[in-house]
């Protein structure tokens, strides 16, 4: 439908289309360099209400409230931001079963230069698993649309948070 479909597909164009297809209109984020084209694309598209938040927890609160009031939303963040979230996730969208969709740009792996990021990265999947939050790591462009669409669809169908992890294999990582 949009120009994204005709131009060479990109991971961020595919994600943006998956948000649209699932009527995810609220895009909150704490900035990340790898996510820039996705953030810029959402800002530029009037379908979305897009704004930055000061903390990832805050964004989870906002998206939870919006979702309960009928507007679906997503939180974009990087790995270190995800690591600030366990209490907020456990006590709010998981406990109340509200489908907050998260997109995490994965730092700390595949050639990371920052030791802190590398350690934080190892906490992410155990935290998600411990709360039963389904997560999928997106590594391939040819699978990206399927993984994104199905993950978001299932989150809303089953009323449970979900997390898409954008691997450097897909995004190219931090240059």
């Amino acid at each position: 439908m949009s120009s994204t479909a005709e131009a060479a597909p990109t991971w961020h164009g595919i994600l943006r289309q998956a948000f649209k297809d699932q009527d995810v209109r609220l895009v909150t984020y704490v900035p990340d360099n790898v996510l820039r084209p996705l953030i810029d694309g959402c800002h530029a598209d009037p379908f979305f209400t897009t704004f930055s938040c000061t903390r990832e927890e805050e964004a989870v609160g906002i998206v939870t409230g919006a979702c309960m009031a009928g507007m679906r939303g997503v939180v974009l963040m990087q790995t270190s931001g995800f690591a600030t979230l366990p209490n907020a996730l456990a006590s709010l969208p998981v406990a109340f079963q509200v489908p907050v969709v998260m997109v995490v740009s994965e730092r700390g792996t595949m050639g990371e230069f920052n030791p802190g990021q590398a350690i934080v990265c190892r906490t992410m999947r155990p935290i998600l698993d411990s709360m039963g939050i389904e997560h999928h790591t997106m590594t391939r462009l040819d699978e990206a649309a399927f993984v994104a669409d199905r993950t978001i669809r299932q989150a809303f169908a089953t009323r449970w948070p979900a997390c898409l992890i954008i691997s450097p294999l897909l995004s190219g990582g931090r240059k």
């Binding site: 938040c53 000061t54 906002i62």
Partner: protein, 199 residues
Amino acid sequence: MTETTGNLHVMNRAALTKRLVAGLKNREAVIGGIGNSNWDLWGAGQRPENFYMLGSMGLAAPIAFGVAIAQPARRVFALEGDGSLLMQLGCLSTIAAQAPKNLAIIVWDNGIYQITGGQSTPAAQARTDIVAIARASGIASAAWAADEAEFDVLVARALTTDGPHVIGVKIDNEPGRNQTDRDPIRFRESFMRAMAEPV
């Protein structure tokens, strides 16, 4: 409305929550903050438009903001403790930047973390003015309620004029009077059903 903390009457959370809820006539949403804010909201009479959180300290205002974005026609209140707001001060800038017209945040300022043993907050020790923080964050309609009558005036303003609004209230150290049930699925379902009703 009162700009400074110099001459504020110390009020009571349970009594003011009752006053607030009694004045809600248009299915306004009310998001209670952790612990006492929730408990006194519960005690003021359960309405399906109330949302009672669990342990997500500091997220009453962000949750309310999310509701306000999703439903611009509905007025939305957050009831938040001073300690809780201190944990998430950045949300005041986020809210100021987006400027939701239908959002009001009421801050119950007892100067302590009452529910965890009454320890004083760093803000109380430093005489931090929370309403001044809100104003400096870009929320122009931020004021202290000097007494019950002024609280009523500020709530009326929040119900009838464009926000976002912040209302600061100095309260005593009484604990919340009525504990909520702890039934998140039921709360979420009834809140969502209520939000699906037109205003």
